[in-house]
Symmetry: C2
Subunit: 331 residues, 2 copies
């Protein structure tokens, strides 16, 4: 393990891949890896990329990667597919991607699918991002499918969140946009050669200025003492792209740099690091608590209470009280 960690840190592709597999499969390996690599992290620019299905997120990511590579940056890509918790649904996209970007040692791609556990994916993604950070990638792009809580969690783990939209996605999607816009630092309207692009750009700009803090990021970040803090000072730019032709990618790359400079100058960089650290610590604490609990309360008691709750003989709150009493007793 020590050798593997050292090779990964020196950027050896195969070592990184092997280490990530270990980190994904074993919490003990994740702990060991993060403890060893953590002092070497904090250098990468972590960019979350999300948006409506069909907006061309993957194409935007590929085009952006090519642009960043032209600028000599090393890029790690983590493609997260929370919609497929049971089987490896992320694999198909990975294979398509590989064909397009493979062969370049300055690019590392990894697909991840949820395993159905509460918070498991967010935790694993955080560890994988740390491995890539320590391995010296300048940018780590975390791409997610869908528009749910997972995106919000991932946005909270990124320095910069890019939301990708496209013209003419239908009315129902408006409501999703409204939600997802709240996590955006940068908006991309892709496929601007399509009919209706002007209208989409206009309506997005309008939505951005309708919010409670008109035009600045409405931050819902929560600090350790649960106080909501506003970031402010950053006007969310709307960037028009045609990713299949690489159009708009230079502007997107430059805007990423500009956002990074803003984060550092405003002091928000440290605030985002603190928020992310808190979320990670919270997840680790919860896992530890559940392990302790399972060790302290016999399986038969848990199973018995579960049946009683399912049959309406005991309510869930009373069951929790009984389980906690047992847990305290056996400490």
């Amino acid at each position: 393990m020590k050798e593997l960690l050292e090779s990964a840190r020196r950027g050896k592709i195969r070592a990184i891949a092997r280490l990530i597999t270990q980190v994904e499969n074993s919490p003990a390996a994740a702990e060991q890896a993060v403890q060893a690599l953590y002092p070497h992290t904090g250098k990468a620019h972590i960019v979350g990329i999300t948006g409506s299905p069909g907006a061309g997120k993957s194409t935007v990511v590929n085009a952006l990667v090519k642009m960043l590579r032209q600028q000599e940056a090393r890029v790690g890509i983590v493609a997260v597919d929370p919609s497929s918790p049971f089987t490896g649904g992320a694999l198909l996209g990975d294979r398509v991607r590989m064909r397009d970007l493979s062969g370049d040692p300055g690019i590392f791609i990894r697909s991840m699918a949820s395993r159905g556990s509460l918070g498991g994916l967010a935790q694993a993604t955080a560890s994988v991002v740390k491995v890539l950070d320590a391995a010296g990638y300048d940018f780590i792009l975390v791409e997610t499918v869908g528009a749910g809580q997972a995106e919000v969690d991932i946005a909270n783990a990124a320095h910069t969140t890019v939301v990708v939209e496209a013209p003419g996605m239908g009315d129902e999607i408006q409501s999703i946009k409204a939600g997802i816009l709240e996590i955006a630092d940068i908006l991309v309207v892709n496929k601007v050669d399509r009919p209706g692009a002007d209208r989409t750009v206009r309506s997005l700009k309008m939505m951005l200025h309708l919010g409670p803090v008109g035009g600045t990021r409405r931050s819902g970040r929560i600090s350790a003492n649960n106080v909501q803090e506003n970031s402010g000072g950053w006007d969310i730019p709307v960037i028009e792209t045609i990713a299949t032709e690489g159009k708009g990618m230079a502007e997107l790359a430059a805007t990423l740099g500009r956002h990074m400079a803003h984060l550092r100058q405003s002091g928000e960089w440290l605030q985002r690091e603190r928020d992310r650290s808190w979320r990670e610590i919270e997840m680790l604490l919860q896992r530890r608590f559940m392990h302790q609990f399972q060790a302290q309360v016999p399986l038969e008691m848990r199973e018995g209470l579960l049946t009683a709750v399912a049959e309406r003989a005991v309510d869930p709150y009373t069951a929790v009280n009984q389980l906690l009493a047992k847990s305290d007793e056996n400490m």
Copy 2:
């Protein structure tokens, strides 16, 4: 509170609405309500409805509700919008819906948006469903937007999960489908009057038979001892609808009944109740653990460690070990 609970249980609309507001806003009220109402729950058929944006989910829900009302069933609708964690993004859809279904005392509609807390929405939804169950609604339709972890959580809280698709939703959506199909008990292809409908129906049927347990639900349900269990014995039907004209709704309603009968006969009903109970208990336990922890570890220590982690002076695992040691000390 006692009077309010009694009125809600007798199905008084205004009491139900007021009780739900209290349950959403205060964990203490949720505990009191669930403890009091729990013995009266377990009668409703809880149906989760999800699918790709633009497939016409809301229209399907509205048409299904009208069909169920014709059959004299009382219907509760919970519209969950996990994409909007910070502001009340669910409200727009709610207002549109109200216009269509309002005035019928056999229908209760409630919109919910996430508040940005880990698992907070799933927890609140579970409590609201219990209130409606105890209030005597025969069906509780839980409708979600998007295709993320929230959908999976909600599917795990339903007896029957309906996934709504539509023809011609683009290629990227295929990968989402693959993921979301894994949680479906019933598939609806809406807008079958559109071009390409035949192809969509055919490809969905093909995907259903490509899975590892070909044609039966690939259940990822996790029991209290973390053993994955398969359900099986249910062939996922593909139902063709034109919701705007009410077409296919009688078949959908009948299929819901058939799935319910299957659950009861196969014994899976109790299994799903147990799974759901376990998830709920797990969420409650984690909340309790975090409360205890916050009471035991001084805020200054938490804040200090957070800064140290953000600045890379301490890694997250070491921070957790220090926090737990402090917590044990102060117990």
